[in-house]
Structure formats: structure tokens, C-alpha cells
């Protein structure tokens, strides 16, 4: 029997917009005409995750991949490829680097846009079955360093890999380990910071849920490198599944003696304890985290002394983030050189981003450092929902800022993001479209930071409150132009003089949006912005639906007569807009 052919046509959100439905119909039609229904199957698939190149057609089992297919190309694909078995060269993906057309999709540079190191096992192994982790070379890195490397050598590998902390700060991991290792005394601690607090970032949760053993293994490696025998995972209580998987993993690892005494016969002891966070963003800051682990309020302390000198129980402590740890077994197995070959000059390896907001493909992506924002938003993320206009991406969460259209082609790494007024943070990327009001967005973040402020130092405790109040005044159209000056002064002083990283970065969302979207602030300050929804008289048929849903009853009008919104009373909730079936209401 003739090898059966399958034609896969991308039907994801991104591709749907470009006629893929019509293509499927045409393909089916032509195959029927050719009486090849028994040999050829036409399938409309979900998203290929390749939206920038859509629509895409893949032909199996040849594993040939056509991109940017147009309706008029269908005939050629059928006659050339399906009937004659000849590849249509011009539709193959054009690899800009190799400058040659490639057929097999795994070889295409495009796919390398996503590269999984930290997420390598997520979705691939059963996180509750240690044997699956072992099958993918789990605990081999630990076994190797314990049998073949000295502690110093492990630190050298880490330094050579140029891995930097993925929690936000970007401090070189090897250096952190070295600083801790150098401290005198033999009571030291390794802490895994799993208190993922950035709203909209969930890569750490995903790793802990999908690949908990990799964290345990990396912590043990860290312990060996620094001379620490105890590890603590500080994890958000809001992540019950991750906690459960972590507990299971620890239990299993102990059964295999991957944790416990005399690991791999090396004489090195290491075990791990879990401590729960309890809902405090500031506990992502390492000194606050340590206070919390010690059973106190999560208030940060001044640095120096750094935890590497005086951390948990005043002993040398290294605090590393989940994603940072997740990279480590691969670095050991494949070498520092391999890792440092990925990424940009000062930012090596990959970074996981959590794509969310007004974007088609919401989810986690892991890309090499240096990938541009455009590639992430359009190629991987599939562009903006409903074909709206891209406005900005908020990165770094409450500590970060916005990246605007003009910087879409900036290669993403620690330094470049900082240079344009944002930051890597833990990797949250909230995509904003034309409908988003930047003053409202920064108000959202300030509300968050002032609510999450521990209250210890003056600038953060009172300053962020005052900033929030000014933003509230502005958005209520009760502000004045001088407010912008006060806001900016406050922002700078809070940034300069707060005690910890949370406070120092809390004004960033305001400073960044004030820089790129000052006109929006001015519109509020000068009260030239309209906060009210309006009804287009010509379109309104007087169905009364809007007036019935209006929570403040500011819409009036008789049945079958165009309605009117009392602009002074409108609270811009948008209920009328959602209710109107005649597109008769326009947003402010």
C-alpha cells in the first residue's frame, strides 16, 4: 500500500486570520477531485507556535514545512509535492543565517528561537516518577561532580558558564557561590527562592511542577560547591501542586540516596527542607526571604552584610532562584562552554518568559538571550489578540517598565533591558495593546507595590502610597500638572533611598511610562482626557439594553430613541459597551 500522506494546515489563532480555513477547503476539494482521499489526509491543526510565518503547511511523513503559504500556492503544493513528490522550494522556510532553504523543521533556525534548557523536562517527564527523571540523565550531573570534581572545580564551571541569576538581579551565579564558599565555618546553607511573586510570571511554578528533581539535584550540586549540607526551598503557599510534587520528589530522592548521607559514596551529605511563604511579595528579596524562613515578618535588612556572609541563622547562605537552579544540571552535563555559547556577550544561556496579556499564544517560552522582543511577541506569541495595535510590553513586573514599539528589535538581555528603562525581572511579559491606558497600568503596579511594601523604610512605606494617591488623583481627573513633578521627584527619591530592591524598583513602572507615554499623564493632569463612554446617535436604535446594565444609571433615553450618557456621572466601567449589540457605544 502506498505510503499515506498527511497534510497539516495550521489553524491556530494567528494563522486563522490568514485564510487557512479556506486553504483546508480547497485542499480537500482538490484531493477529492484527484480521487486521492484514501491516500491523503488533510488536517487543520492547532497552533504550530510559529505564527509569524503563517499560514503553515506541513506534509508528513516527509516532514516538509511550508511557510507563508498563500491560497494560490495550494495548487502547486498538490501537483508538485503530493502528486509528484517534489518539494516546492520557494515555499520552504528561509533560514536567514544559513541562507538556504531547509525542509525538515527540526533543522530550521526558527525553532531555535525557543530553546529549552530550564524547561527541558517540563511536559516531557512525569514529575512524580523519579525513574523518568533518571531516564533523562537525572542526577547524573550530581553524581559526576561528586565523583570527579572538587568543589572549586564546580565553582569554576559555574563561573565559566557565565550563568546569571534568573530571579531578576542577574548576579553571576558562580560568583555568588564562590563568595559563600570562601566564608569560614562549616555551617552553610543553600536556599532555593521559589517565592515567585511577580504577577504574571509563573515559570518557577511550572518548573517545580514539571521537573522538581532538577531543582533538588542542582541544590545538592550547589551545596557540594559551597560546603553546605542543608538546602531549603522557600516556596509560595499559593502553589499547592508544586509543593506536593516537591515533597514527593524529596521523598523519592531520599529513597535513592540522592539526598541524605554520603551521596554517591562521596562522603558528602545533603538534605532539603521545605518552608512555605505566606503571601508577601517582598519575600522574594533574599534578606526578607531569610527573615521569613526564620519565622519572622519578611522585612529586608540592609546589605551589606550579604547573605553570602551572614544569611540564614547568620551563617553563609546562597539564595538562588528556581530557574537558575534548573539550568545547572545541563551546564554540568554539557559543559560551561556549551552554555556560554548561547546568548549575548554578557547574558548567556536562555531565559524563560511568561507571555500574557493581549497576546494570542499565552504561555511560557524559553528563548536564548538576545532574542528580540519582536520575535517573542509576533513569531512565538502569535501577535496581538484581535489584530489590535501593539502598544508596549511590560517586563519585570512591578519592578520593571515598558518596552515600546521603537524597541521591539532590541535583543533581550539584562543590560539592554535596563538601558531602555525596564528590567529582566523574573521574566513576566505582559503585552499591552492600543486599548490599555498606561497611567492605569502604572497605577495597577503602584497599588501592588504599596500594598506589598513591608512598611519598614520610609520611602517605600509612605512614598509608594503617595505615588499611588497621585495616580489616583490623576485618573479621577482631580490632579494638576504639578502632580507630575511631585510624582517624578518622589519616584527618583524612592528609587535612590529605599532599603531594599522592592522599594528601589517600585517607581520603575511610573518612571518608565512617564518617559515613554508622558502625554497620557499630561492628558490626565490637564484633564483633557475623556473618561466617559459615548453613544453614537446614528447607530443607537434605543434598545435600552445599555441603560439597564449601567451600574450608576447614567444612561437615559426612551425606547427606540437614541440614548444619552451623562458624561459627568459615567464611571467608565464599560458595561454598556459590552452590552451594546449595535456598536453604538464608543470607548473614552
Amino acid at each position: 500500500m502506498k505510503e499515506r500522506i498527511t497534510v497539516l494546515v495550521c489553524g491556530g489563532t494567528g494563522c486563522m486570520a490568514s485564510d487557512s480555513n479556506e486553504m483546508v477547503i480547497q485542499l480537500k476539494q482538490r484531493i477529492k477531485e484527484l480521487k486521492m482521499e484514501n491516500e491523503v489526509t488533510i488536517i487543520k491543526t492547532g497552533c504550530f507556535g510559529f505564527c509569524g510565518q503563517g499560514p503553515i503547511i506541513k506534509i508528513q511523513p516527509d516532514n516538509v514545512f511550508y511557510v507563508k503559504v498563500k491560497l494560490e500556492d495550494i495548487e502547486e503544493i498538490i501537483t508538485e509535492h503530493i502528486v509528484k513528490g517534489r518539494v516546492v522550494e520557494r515555499l520552504l522556510f528561509d533560514d536567514p543565517k544559513a541562507n538556504e532553504k531547509v525542509k525538515e523543521h527540526k533543522n530550521m533556525d526558527f525553532y531555535k528561537k525557543q530553546m529549552r534548557i530550564a524547561l527541558r523536562n517540563c511536559g516531557f517527564i512525569n514529575p512524580e516518577d523519579i525513574s523518568e527523571y533518571i531516564a533523562v540523565r537525572g542526577y547524573e550531573a550530581l553524581a559526576i561532580v561528586l565523583s570527579e570534581n572538587t568543589s572549586e572545580e564546580v565553582i569554576t564551571i559555574m563561573k565559566d558558564s557565565k550563568l546569571r541569576g534568573r530571579g531578576g538581579g542577574g548576579f553571576p551565579t558562580g560568583l555568588k557561590w564562590e563568595l559563600t564558599a570562601k566564608q569560614p565555618g562549616n555551617e552553610k546553607y543553600v536556599i532555593c527562592n521559589a517565592d515567585e511573586g511577580d504577577p504574571g510570571a509563573f515559570m518557577d511554578r511550572s518548573i517545580l511542577e514539571g521537573d522538581p528533581h532538577s531543582i533538588l539535584e542542582a541544590m545538592a550540586i550547589a551545596g557540594y560547591a559551597m560546603g553546605a549540607n542543608t538546602g531549603i526551598v522557600y516556596i509560595r503557599a499559593e502553589y499547592p501542586l508544586a509543593i506536593h510534587r516537591l515533597e514527593t520528589a524529596i521523598k523519592q530522592a531520599r529513597e535513592y540516596n540522592f539526598l541524605g548521607k554520603d551521596l554517591f559514596g562521596s562522603g558528602f551529605d545533603f538534605d532539603i527542607d521545605i518552608r512555605l511563604g505566606a503571601g508577601a511579595f517582598v519575600c522574594g528579596e533574599e534578606t526578607a526571604l531569610i527573615a521569613s524562613i526564620e519565622g519572622h515578618r519578611g522585612e529586608p535588612t540592609k546589605k551589606p552584610p550579604f547573605p553570602s556572609e551572614q544569611g540564614y541563622k547568620d551563617k553563609p547562605t546562597s539564595v538562588n532562584n528556581v530557574e537558575t537552579f534548573a539550568n545547572i544540571p545541563s551546564i554540568i552535563l554539557k559543559g560551561a562552554e556549551w552554555f556560554s555559547s548561547i546568548g549575548t556577550e554578557n547574558s548567556k544561556g536562555t531565559k524563560v518568559f511568561a507571555l500574557a496579556g493581549k497576546i494570542n499564544n499565552i504561555g511560557l517560552v524559553e528563548v536564548p538571550m538576545g532574542t528580540t522582543l519582536r520575535e517573542i511577541v509576533y513569531d512565538i506569541g502569535g501577535g496581538i489578540i484581535d489584530g489590535k495595535e501593539f502598544k508596549a510590553v511590560q517586563t519585570g513586573g512591578p519592578s520593571g517598565g515598558v518596552i515600546t514599539k521603537e524597541h521591539l528589535d532590541t535583543p533581550i538581555d539584562y543590560e539592554s533591558l535596563k538601558a531602555i528603562g525596564s528590567m529582566m525581572g523574573s521574566g513576566g511579559m505582559i503585552v499591552l495593546d492600543e486599548d490599555n491606558d498606561m497611567v492605569e497600568i502604572s497605577k495597577f503596579y503602584l497599588d501592588f507595590t504599596q500594598d506589598e511594601s513591608c512598611g519598614k523604610c520610609t520611602p517605600c512605606r509612605i512614598g509608594t502610597k503617595r505615588m499611588f494617591e497621585i495616580l489616583e488623583r490623576l485618573t479621577n481627573l482631580e490632579g494638576c500638572p504639578e502632580d507630575l513633578d511631585i510624582l517624578e521627584d518622589l519616584a527618583h527619591n524612592i528609587k535612590n533611598s529605599s532599603l531594599c530592591g522592592l522599594g528601589q524598583s517600585a517607581p520603575n513602572p511610573v518612571l518608565s511610562t512617564l518617559h515613554y507615554f508622558r502625554e497620557e499623564y499630561e492628558a490626565y493632569a490637564n484633564r483633557t482626557i475623556s473618561k466617559s463612554y459615548k453613544i453614537i446617535e446614528e447607530k443607537c436604535i434605543g434598545c435600552t439594553k445599555c441603560s439597564r446594565v449601567c451600574p450608576v444609571e447614567c444612561i437615559t433615553g426612551k425606547v427606540k430613541v437614541p440614548h444619552i450618557i451623562d458624561e459627568s456621572a459615567c464611571i467608565a466601567c464599560g458595561a454598556c459597551f459590552d452590552a451594546c449589540r449595535f456598536d453604538a457605544i464608543i470607548k473614552p
Binding site: G455, T458, I462, G463, K465, L490
Partner: protein, 580 residues
């Protein structure tokens, strides 16, 4: 110690390793304002939370500013204290604090003695740019000693450091977070419902009026104004070495005579000396100790002069209530005698006799209100004023304190010995008791009166004094944290003492919560201590049992020391209390 080379505002200097930027700056005459910072290292008091951000400076190579109070120097450090960035931040942070502060300075207890107020003047704050909502917490007036107004709190955390780390009373904590954060007892309980000892160390260090003593001056003015009332006053030993500070005199200036004159001028009918009460206390306490030693009673015996300490063990060590001496404190002993012996002698209706105490202490206010410290529903002491309140009354009356002539205490309850005087400092009570116990036990005359081994400022001290065949083992602790350590040892059976003196405040009463504010200068307390010993030296009689008026009191009225009548008037009992 190694020296470190640094540069401050272009001045090169070399300072010992471990110096903070703040200290180094002050060395070269560079002034940096501070607010939350507090350091009295010899008393174990260190508050370096770096929370107010008023002392921030620029350190080359760092993005953010650093708190100079907590930042230690390192080799090659380059500091700028006067950069625009630093100046702006300091002013901004102070403005923020003020934007959340009630503007009622004119009637505030701390008016013109407020660290926030003087900082506002110093940093030229004339306008609050970012105004907004302010804290709105109820004022806690539940106790007789301390008023807590959270709305005036600047979150310097000094009170928490005192309450938790120094005193280990553990009543105060920051509650909630962010803008809503407030320093309060658990569950925001009223102070009176907690195990607060009213030691007042929180009051002593509060830079604003978030924690103050309850102001009783108007009650005293009222009593003085009632013609039918006969108002007598007593002054504690530690007051006379500190009151001068209220009038610009050096700490440690002995103002006993001026103080007596001032009290007369204020209209008190008689001016007594709590030192008399102290001598009386020794008569009882030394007997009690000897009694316990001779009769296999509970040992060690702990002193009980300090009301904060009494409250501390009632709440924290209720199982050890038989350990402290049953003696009342000198102030209440004197009050008890005033309302009995003195009233009888003067033929006064006790109902119209009011006893006012001037104390270095805020716990004495609560002590005086304890129902068991009364006789037939008449409290031994009616009103207690802190040294500060007393100073304010003098000012209010327009009395020029520094030029006052020396007066003398009214004889009947005014004579005292050097032993009574040293009650004001840590080690003093036990030294006074030892002087008397020595002669009581041996029957010999004590030649060397000064027990140097009992003096000093170490938090916990111990000494063995040979009294005849007996090696009297003595322990001393000042500061409740140190007291706790001693008590834990006693509980564990580790401490082997005959007698232990405990004073709740660092330094003893000279460092009391009612004294003029030391504003973080530990030398103030040390100078007061030196003055106390000076008074002792200068007093002709230096043993309590040589106080003729005390002896007369026993002859005339009380009978035997530690006897039946003395017991009913001068001894008390303790009640176990919950710890919250």
C-alpha cells in the same frame, strides 16, 4: 585594630576598621542627620535598622544611597554626604514622614523635645509636597503609665528593640504591613491588657510622642490648688542627678538642694526624700535576707524595689513568686509611713493627705495604683510625676531653677544615708543591703563601706562578699533582658546566689524611663551614676541602719524591723499574671 582609608566629601581620612560612615563623618565635622538610629553600646542598646532613610549618603559605585548609620567603612570608600541626590532624598523622606504625622506640635507632650521636630527645622521643611491620607489609629490611654499614640510613630523601631531585645518583655511588634503598619501589642490590645511592665524604656527612646508617660501634672496642680488638701512630695534618688539637664545643666549635676527649694516654691506642704524610704527598705530587706539565710528560706532573694521588674516576674515567671523579697518599694514604703505615722504626728485626716512622688520612672505611676499598695482604700502614693514632668512644672511656674538656693528636706521623713542614695543606680540596692547585712550578721563595724565589686555597668555582675563565716554570693542585673538570663539560670538550678539585685532599666533608675531624654548619649547615664556615688561619699552616714530618723520611726511607731507592724505596712505580695 586596622585603620581604613576613606574619602568623605573630598576629605581623606583614616579611621579604625568597623567605624560607620556616620561616625567617620562626625570625626571630620560633617553633620549627617539621623532619626531611627540609636546606639548605647555599653548598655547593650543598638538600633540600626536603617529604616528611616534620613541619614542616607552617596557612596561611589553604588546605584542607590546608603544609610550612613549602618554602613561600615571599607578601604578606598568614597563618600559624598552633600550630593544633591542625598540631600533631596533626606528631605523627601522627612517630608514623607511629616505627611503622615499629626500637626499638633503646640500641645504635644514632646513639643521642643521632639527629634522629628528638630529634624524638620534642621532640614528646612516648610512645605509638604506630597500630601495624602494619614494614619488614624486610636490612642491607647489604658494604662496609668504610658500613652501610646500610633499616629505619631515614625517606625524607627527603637521601642521594639528596647521591648524585645533589651528588655525581652516582648509586648511590642510591628503589626500589619505597608502603610498600615503600626507598632502595637499582639492583636492591637490595649497596653493594660498585656504583660507590659511599664519600664518606660520605649518612652525613653521614642523620638516623637508616639510613646510618652501619662501626663499627671494637671492632677498635681489641682491637688496643690485645693486648700483642704495637705500635699506632701517625695523625690527619688536618681532625680537629683538628672533634673538639672532640664535646665541646661551638665548631666550628673547634683541638684538636691535646688530641687527641694523648687518643690517648696511649687506649694508642697512637706518635702520628703525617697532616700528615707530606701533606708527603711534596707532595714526590712536586709533583715529578710538574714532571716531567709538563717531559716533555710527561699534563696536567692531578689530585690523588689523596681515595679517594672515586679511586673516582669509576675507575668514571665509566675512560678517564682516566692523568690523576690516581700518588701514594698521605697516610694510606697514612704507613702505608707506618710499616711500613717506622719498623718498621726501632724494630726491630719488621711483623706485630705496627698502623697506625690517625683520619680525617674514611669512604672512608678502604675505601681502607685496597685490596689494592694494601699491602706484602708487609701493609696500609699496618689500621684507620680516623672523627672521630666517635674521639670516642666518648674518651668511652668517660671522658677529659675539654676539660681535657686539650696533647701533641706523636711526632717521627719527627709533624713537619709549614702546607702539610700545609691538606690538610684544599678548595684546600689544590694550594696546598701550588704552594708547593713554585714553589721547585722557579724555584729562588727564595717570598715570598708564601698563594695567596688558590686559597681559598674556590666549587664550581669556577680560578686562574693565575705561576711564573717558566710560567703555571701551576690548577683546583679540591670535591664530586664539580663534579669531574664539570671532568672532562667535560677530556674535551671544553675545560679547559686544568696541575693540578687535587679533593676529594669539599663543603668538602674538613673537610666529610667521618666528621666530627661538621653537622646542616645550613653555618657549622660554614666555621669548620673558617678554623681550618685558622689552623693553617697559626701553623706555623713552611709549605712541605712544608722539613719536616726528611721531608727526613731521604729522606736516610735513600727517596733521591730521585720516585725509584725512593719510587715503589715511595709511588705506586700505578688500575683501571678498571664503573659501576652
Amino acid at each position: 585594630m586596622k585603620n581604613i582609608n576613606i574619602v568623605i566629601n573630598n576629605n581623606e581620612l583614616s579611621v579604625p576598621e568597623g567605624t560607620t560612615v556616620l561616625e567617620a563623618s562626625r570625626n571630620v565635622g560633617v553633620d549627617i542627620p539621623t532619626l531611627c538610629h540609636l546606639e548605647l553600646p555599653d548598655f547593650g542598646i543598638v538600633n540600626k535598622v536603617a529604616s528611616c532613610r534620613v541619614c542616607v549618603v552617596e557612596i561611589e559605585g553604588r546605584g542607590a544611597l546608603s544609610p550612613s548609620c549602618a554602613e561600615k567603612v571599607y578601604e578606598g570608600m568614597v563618600v559624598k554626604t552633600d550630593s544633591l541626590k542625598a540631600i533631596n532624598a533626606r528631605r523627601s523622606n522627612l517630608e514623607l514622614l511629616l505627611s503622615n504625622h499629626p500637626f499638633e506640635c503646640l500641645t504635644c507632650q514632646k513639643n521642643l523635645d521632639c527629634e522629628l521636630q528638630s529634624l524638620a527645622e534642621k532640614l528646612n521643611i516648610r512645605e509638604i509636597h506630597a500630601k495624602g491620607i494619614k494614619m488614624d489609629y486610636p490612642i491607647d490611654t489604658s494604662s496609668n503609665s504610658i500613652i501610646k499614640d500610633p499616629n505619631k510613630c515614625v517606625m524607627c523601631r527603637r521601642c521594639e528593640t528596647m521591648c524585645n531585645e533589651v528588655q525581652t518583655v516582648g509586648v511590642l511588634s510591628a503589626i500589619k504591613r505597608g502603610f498600615d503598619v503600626v507598632v502595637a501589642p499582639a492583636f492591637n490590645l490595649d497596653m493594660v491588657d498585656t504583660s507590659c511592665t511599664y519600664c518606660g524604656q520605649c518612652v525613653a527612646v521614642c523620638p516623637t510622642a508616639a510613646l510618652t508617660e501619662r501626663n499627671d501634672t494637671s492632677r498635681v496642680w489641682r491637688a496643690l490648688s485645693r486648700e483642704r488638701e495637705h500635699v506632701v512630695v517625695q523625690v527619688a534618688p536618681a532625680v537629683r542627678v538628672a533634673i538639672g539637664e532640664m535646665f541646661g545643666l551638665e548631666p550628673g549635676t547634683i541638684s538636691t538642694g535646688k530641687l527641694v527649694t523648687a518643690l517648696r516654691r511649687l506649694g508642697f506642704n512637706a518635702v520628703f526624700d525617697t532616700n528615707f524610704g530606701a533606708d527603711l527598705t534596707i532595714m526590712e530587706e536586709a533583715r529578710e535576707l538574714v532571716h531567709r539565710i538563717e531559716n533555710n528560706g527561699t534563696l536567692p532573694m531578689l530585690t523588689s524595689c523596681c515595679p517594672a521588674w515586679v511586673k516582669f516576674f509576675e507575668h514571665q515567671f509566675p512560678e517564682l513568686l516566692d523568690v523576690p523579697s516581700t518588701c514594698k518599694s521605697p516610694q510606697t514604703m514612704l507613702g505608707a509611713i506618710a499616711k500613717t505615722y506622719y498623718a498621726e504626728k501632724m494630726d491630719l485626716n488621711v483623706k485630705n493627705l496627698k502623697v506625690v512622688s517625683i520619680m525617674p520612672c514611669v512604672a512608678k505611676k502604675a505601681e502607685s495604683a496597685r490596689p494592694e499598695l494601699s491602706k484602708e482604700d487609701e493609696l500609699h502614693v496618689d500621684f507620680v510625676l516623672s523627672t521630666r514632668e517635674f521639670g516642666h512644672m518648674i518651668k511652668e511656674a517660671g522658677i529659675d531653677f539654676t539660681s535657686l538656693e539650696d533647701g533641706k528636706f523636711d526632717n521627719i521623713l527627709g533624713e537619709s544615708t549614702g546607702a539610700g542614695a545609691i538606690f538610684g543606680t544599678t548595684g546600689g540596692v544590694i550594696e546598701a543591703a550588704t552594708r547593713t547585712a554585714y553589721e547585722l550578721i557579724t555584729g562588727e563595724n564595717l570598715e570598708k563601706i564601698e563594695f567596688e565589686q558590686l559597681r559598674g555597668l556590666e549587664g550581669i555582675r556577680e560578686a562574693t562578699v565575705s561576711i564573717g563565716d558566710l560567703d555571701l554570693k551576690i548577683g546583679i542585673a540591670h535591664g530586664l533582658g539580663n534579669a531574664r538570663k539570671l532568672l532562667e539560670d535560677i530556674k535551671a538550678g544553675k545560679a547559686n546566689y544568696h541575693a540578687i539585685e535587679i533593676m529594669a532599666c539599663p543603668g538602674g533608675c538613673i537610666g529610667g524611663g521618666g528621666q530627661p531624654y538621653h537622646h542616645g548619649d550613653q555618657n549622660v547615664i554614666k555621669k548620673r551614676q558617678a554623681a550618685i556615688y558622689e552623693i553617697d561619699k559626701a553623706t555623713p552616714r552611709r549605712k541605712s541602719h544608722e539613719n536616726e530618723m528611721v531608727l526613731k520611726l521604729y522606736d516610735d511607731y513600727l517596733g521591730e524591723p521585720y516585725g509584725k507592724k512593719a510587715h503589715s505596712l511595709l511588705h506586700t505580695c505578688y500575683v501571678p499574671a498571664e503573659k501576652i
